[in-house]
């Protein structure tokens, strides 16, 4: 199945991004394809290159980056939500890209299922 993922909460404060990551990994292991992960609301913070968690903690941003690289997942950060929150190309982690909300609607159209992770 072709899946789209929407993440509406930031890393560490909220479990949404963790659950989405574990879901994506499990889905890929079962043979499904993740078409795109779209980061919206505070979810845009999952793309900050400046993120530095303590060494004994999971690195949520880099974990997404690696999963995307290994499985060709399109990581899209909403431009309007990002600009509001100070996420720009200069502090965007490699592997993510900033684009418009149209990409979210398109994910809904193109995917067999769009799964939302949020509050």
């Amino acid at each position: 199945m072709k899946l789209g993922i929407l993440i509406n909460e930031g890393p560490y404060t909220h479990q949404a991004s963790d659950t989405a990551y574990l879901f994506a990994k499990a889905a890929i292991e079962k043979g499904h394809k993740i078409h795109r992960v779209f980061f919206y609301n505070d979810g845009v913070y999952n793309s900050s290159r400046l993120t530095e968690p303590p060494q004994d903690d999971r690195h949520i941003v880099n974990r997404w980056q690696k999963l995307a690289k290994d499985h060709h997942i399109d990581l899209v950060v909403c431009v309007a939500a990002a600009l509001r929150r100070g996420i720009k190309d200069e502090n965007l982690q490699e592997g993510f890209r900033i684009s418009g909300l149209g990409q979210l609607v398109e994910t809904g159209i193109q995917s067999d299922r769009l799964v939302t992770f949020g509050d």
Binding site: Y40, N41, G100, Q103, V105, E106, I109, T116
Partner: protein
């Protein structure tokens, strides 16, 4: 709605598919950004010629209440935008009856025409959709 897209050109690669999109709004219009950012997605989806519906449940029913006055909290009152949805052919707005009544609201308290449906009908509505986004 260049504000939401940041002026970036959208690739409308929809392959001519029309899906039923339902946007579920559960939170009060102010206090958190969810209502506003939900509305921004709704407006964008209009550009994709999809079959769009909106549902208001829980405190989300306050989003479409008339007479919002936000000046004292220094936040933009975006409720008039709901009235503009008609111009984008988004006319299917549903309010859950139980949520409305629990908050002492009536059908005439809303800024736009809405269809009031009960929880069971809301479940049927959700069942009939292809894509549901909840904010």
């Amino acid at each position: 709605m260049t504000e939401a897209t940041g002026g970036i050109e959208m690739e409308e690669d929809t392959g001519g598919k029309v899906k039923k999109f339902l946007y579920i709004n559960r939170k009060a219009p102010y206090g958190t950004i969810y209502a506003l950012e939900s509305l921004e997605v709704v407006l964008i989806s209009a550009a994709f010629d999809q079959d769009v519906s909106l549902a208001f449940l829980d405190d989300g029913v306050y989003q479409v209440v008339k007479g919002q006055h936000t000046k004292p909290i220094d936040v933009k009152n975006f409720s008039p935008t709901y009235r503009a949805l008609e111009g984008y052919d988004i006319e299917k707005l549903y309010v859950e009856k139980e949520s409305m009544e629990a908050r002492g609201l009536k059908e005439e308290d809303f800024i736009v025409p809405v269809k009031v449906i009960n929880t069971a009908e809301m479940a049927d509505l959700m069942q009939s959709q292809d894509v549901i986004m909840s904010f």
